[in-house]
């Protein structure tokens, strides 16, 4: 009863805030949602790995970077559009992720968590340096007309292409929910994530499931790499900031809470754009990220102590 009431209050407050923003500063909501879509679409695969395989993959952003370079190379070699490279890149990144998992991460799963962190951190450096050696630190960008698509509403003109990330984030969220709750493999993955020993007793191949989930997450990151190429220039360090941002969004949402990542991303995206919309607070947008994390984690700790 109390939970329902609290949920209703949060929902009412969110709706009121949304209406206020639409009337007062509609661009805050528009750009906030677009930023949220990008954050969530990158963070959700990391949430999947953390929730089921229980490793913090510090090379998450670098996997996206490698995928973006793979997509770029394919686009340049075949003269194709990055959108057409999404599925091939996802497949290649899934295979690459599976191989990396079997060769390295799997070996560290039984070790202390620090070993996993160091291992994935090492992978991140290895990926970045390898790409640096092959492509140098020069940036690459494919100019595309459709990314400048825009819409006019009254006096406001805004870009619409970045809404594609919102769509991807929603598809990822509900697609993964469906996969984890409605399919046999997904249910097995969920069981492995909740209790690996119990899952093994009932006959689920735990390491095969881990490998599959990791490959699936890398496929989603790979698809995002190709899509990211439409909007951004790429260079060896392009993925690195996304690792930390994704990890923090997962920390805000709570491990294993995929829809929560979407919510946390919306909160972050709108808050950042809200601060950027006003001259005195423009430079504070980067700080809001850390403030939100501290508030959420401290709040959760206090709540835990109370209960």
């Amino acid at each position: 009863m109390v939970v329902k009431r609290r949920t209703a209050i949060i929902a009412a407050m969110s709706i009121a805030a949304t209406i206020a923003l639409i009337l007062w500063k509609p661009t805050v909501l528009i750009y906030g949602l677009q930023a949220a879509g990008l954050y969530a679409a990158v963070a959700i695969p990391m949430g999947l790995v953390l929730g089921i395989v229980h490793i913090v993959n510090l090379s998450h952003g670098e996997f996206m970077m490698v995928a973006a370079y793979a997509a770029y190379s394919a686009c340049k070699a075949l003269g194709m559009d990055p959108l057409l490279a999404i599925i091939p890149t996802a497949i290649v990144t899934a295979i690459f992720g599976w191989v990396i998992f079997q060769l390295t991460i799997r070996r560290a799963l039984k070790g202390p968590e620090l070993n996993q962190l160091i291992l994935t951190f090492g992978l991140a450096i290895a990926f970045t340096q390898t790409i640096n050696l092959i492509f140098t630190s020069q940036t690459y960008k494919i100019p595309l007309d459709y990314v400048s698509a825009s819409m006019d509403i009254g006096d406001i003109t805004f870009g619409t292409w970045s809404f594609v990330f919102v769509a991807v984030a929603i598809v990822y969220t509900y697609g993964l929910q469906f996969f984890l709750t409605k399919t046999t493999t997904g249910k097995a993955a969920l069981a492995v994530g909740q209790n690996p020993r119990g899952a093994a007793i009932v006959g689920i191949d735990v390491y095969r499931t881990y490998g599959l989930v990791f490959a699936l997450a890398m496929a989603l990151v790979g698809a995002m790499g190709a899509l990211f190429l439409t909007k951004s220039a790429i260079f060896p360090g392009v993925g690195t900031p996304f690792t930390m941002k994704s990890f923090c969004l997962i920390a805000m949402a709570g491990v294993g809470n995929i829809p929560g990542i979407l919510g946390a991303s919306v909160l972050l995206g709108v808050a950042e754009n809200f601060l950027r919309a006003f001259r005195p607070t423009r430079d504070w947008a980067e700080i809001v990220f850390f403030v939100l994390i501290i508030v959420v984690i401290v709040g959760r700790s206090l709540k835990g102590r109370k209960s």
Partner: protein
């Protein structure tokens, strides 16, 4: 005893002859993963090869030993130590980022060898750390300091408005990346353009794509609301195309759209979005038509490396080697004091379109180039708009509205 004297005489003869046929070692330090360092070091090597093919200097060959500083101050300092103690170089050259250059200065001062610096615009950091003459006299800074660049932009825009009365600039908006580079650009812009109230200056920061940003919507909203005559952005090459794409999406087309990144992304000129974007720089292949030194450099570079020099750091490093070689030739030695004296008399007609000489700057005694150029992307090429004596095209104004 006689035998010993004979052996010593033979040894002295051999050693003397080896010294005479030896090499003059130049220690070059660049950030090799970056296009500026990659092409800067390649252009310096090309100059060394040309000089050696023509017989070398003082009967000796030049030997360029290149070390990568990875853009980091600690690696740059270690590079100086290695070149001075292991390779025992005679002179130093290279450099791009001010941060890495700052790391080299204590070691440069320790060894006191002549340095021909091709980068580092940060006056507050690098020039201040070098200190005044005579302690910094070994340091020859060819690249302009940030205040030199700012002053030349102000001079350039004044001259352009005088020459082309249809170009009128009253309001300037600077979108600057939130790091040290962008912030120093913002501080300089406020002083140079906003100081005497001739211009109304506003600005806003953005997080560069290079550091995990890439969303320019808020800064473009602020710029659009300000309605600037000149929109200038100070960021990195990673920001160039996404910023234009978002400007197009928001239908933001100021009278002048100008970018000031250290380098442009590969293929930028082939993008439709590059049309009529202005830029600051020192050199462009378009100068080949009216500058024989530029044409010769360009032709040789393309023939040797099968790629175009993409930034001005290539002709700048090429020039640095020739200036050093001419100085050593005039001094007859690589000893610091006579070489400094010889370099002070430098008059080198560079491929950059100007004759390089050394004059005192705000702090140091040996400053080379002080003027930047204003260029514009036209038909996929960088055309020089100002200084008028080096101009290769007329400016296209205003920046056309997006279609």
């Amino acid at each position: 005893m006689k035998r010993m004297m004979l052996a010593l005489a033979v040894f002295a003869l051999i050693a003397g002859s080896a010294y005479a046929q030896g090499t003059i070692k130049i220690g070059g330090i660049w950030t090799l993963a970056d296009i500026t360092g990659k092409q800067g070091s390649a252009a310096a090597q090309m100059a060394v090869d040309e000089i050696n093919a023509a017989g070398g200097i003082l009967g000796k060959k030049l030997d360029l030993i290149v070390v990568d500083d990875e853009g980091k101050a600690d690696k740059a300092a270690a590079a100086v130590e290695k070149l001075a103690t292991v390779d025992k170089v005679d002179v130093f050259m290279g450099g791009m980022g001010s941060g890495a250059e700052l790391g080299k200065i204590p070691a440069f001062k320790k060894y006191g060898k002549v340095v021909m610096s091709t980068g580092a615009a940060g006056s507050v950091t690098v020039e201040k750390a070098l200190g005044p003459s005579p302690e910094s006299d070994f340091y020859f800074h060819i690249h302009p300091w940030d205040y030199n660049q700012g002053a030349s932009y102000a001079e350039g825009w004044d001259a352009i408005q005088k020459q082309y009365p249809n170009i009128k600039i009253r309001k300037i908006f600077l979108a600057y990346e939130e790091g040290a580079f962008g912030k120093s650009s913002w501080d300089a812009t406020k002083i140079l353009f906003g100081g005497d109230n001739r211009y109304i200056v506003d600005g806003a920061s953005f997080k560069s794509a290079l550091f995990g940003g890439g969303d320019y919507t808020s800064v473009l909203e602020a710029a659009k609301a300000f309605k600037p005559d000149l929109f200038l952005w100070a960021g990195y090459d990673a920001d160039a195309l996404p910023l234009l794409e978002q400007s197009k999406a928001m239908k933001f087309s100021p009278g002048i759209y100008l970018g000031a990144p250290p380098g442009w992304p590969i293929g930028f000129g082939s993008s439709k979005l590059s049309r009529n974007v202005m830029l600051y720089g020192m050199w462009s292949p378009a100068m080949n038509d009216n500058n024989p030194a530029s044409a010769k450099f360009y032709k040789n570079y393309v023939a040797k490396y099968k790629e175009e020099p993409a930034t001005y750091f290539a002709p700048l490093s090429y020039s640095a080697v020739y200036i050093l070689a001419d100085g050593i030739k005039a001094a007859g030695t690589t000893e610091t004091a006579p070489l400094i004296k010889a370099l002070e008399a430098t008059k080198y007609a560079s491929p950059l379109g100007e004759t390089i000489t050394f004059k005192p700057s705000n702090i140091i005694k040996h400053q080379g180039i002080t003027r930047q150029k204003i260029l514009q992307w036209q038909g996929g090429f960088q055309e020089v708009i100002w200084p008028f004596e080096a101009a290769t095209a007329e400016p296209v104004y205003p920046f056309p509205a997006w279609k």
